[in-house]
């Protein structure tokens, strides 16, 4: 239970950063932290006490295994987050070039 709470706390760190920070890079980092919290959550509920790795090895008879599917899901979601982060960073670089500032509150030509 304590692990789930800590995972949730990590998620809240991300939410806090997203809501209060004004720096472009810090916003991107907050989103990344939220993503890691979700990935951790996925891994956590796949965990089973005293279970082995979900891989068939030669000559080893496996008892109970942890759930392998969430690990595959996490791998996919990491790839997706990598793509999102790369795109966000590219956009941030361009924004800084155009507006000459990292402050999100000063980047507002669009309104309404």
């Amino acid at each position: 239970m304590i692990l789930y709470l800590m995972c949730f706390a990590l998620f809240l760190v991300g939410v806090y950063g997203l809501l209060t920070k004004r720096d472009l890079i810090k916003l991107i980092l907050s989103i990344a932290v939220m993503g890691y919290a979700v990935n951790l959550f996925l891994i956590l509920f796949a965990y089973k006490k005293d279970a082995g790795i979900p891989i068939l090895l030669e000559g080893v008879v496996q008892g109970s295994m942890v759930d392998p599917l969430p690990q595959a899901l996490v791998l996919t979601s990491i790839v997706i987050e990598l793509g999102t982060t790369a795109l966000l960073v590219a956009l941030a670089i361009r924004l800084v070039q155009k507006y000459k500032t990292f402050d999100i509150t000063k980047i507002r030509r669009l309104f309404g």
Binding site: L56, L57, Q97
Partner: protein, 150 residues
């Protein structure tokens, strides 16, 4: 190559020259054994990309650009993705379903087994290695060219 203005110090360059092949070898090992052990296309591909990035960091972006054909890497990336899709369509043609495992499965735990999975792993490995390297490459060069598009 050993231009002191570009990249890091001579020590880093020398160490990189020695270790980068070990990294590449490890990446290839992970990709080839993807159907037997943890790892596989994505993990191995990331390690391959890191090998390339290592060179870029040690020698500098300009020096790397001189002997590394970036356009060729982009083409490899597109080709591997296309081939992956063709493997899926071949599955329809030979097995009846998309991504069907149409090759003989072989004996478990052998290197050449599990039908199409090793082939798909290799293709994913190449794709991941190239795209990850190119993403960082493009981001590193983004501040130089003004106005263009990623």
């Amino acid at each position: 190559m050993n231009d002191p203005k570009n990249g890091m110090t001579l020590i880093v360059k020398t160490v990189t020259r020695v270790t980068v092949w070990l990294i590449v070898l490890y990446g290839i090992y992970l990709i080839l054994h993807g159907h037997l052990t943890p790892g596989g296309g994505f993990g191995g591909g990331v390690i391959l990309a890191l090998a390339f990035l290592n060179i870029m960091l040690a020698y500098g972006r300009d020096a790397t650009q001189k002997w590394l054909n970036i356009k060729f890497l982009e083409d490899i990336e597109a080709v591997s993705a296309t081939l992956f899709l063709f493997m899926g369509i071949l599955g329809i043609a030979l097995g009846g379903r998309f991504l069907m495992n149409f090759l003989p499965k072989g004996t478990p735990h052998a290197l050449f087994s599990a039908g199409t999975i090793p082939i798909l792993n290799i293709l994913i490995g190449i794709k991941v290695a190239m795209s990850l390297f190119l993403v960082v490459w493009v981001l590193a060069g983004l501040h130089e060219e003004e106005g263009g598009k990623k």
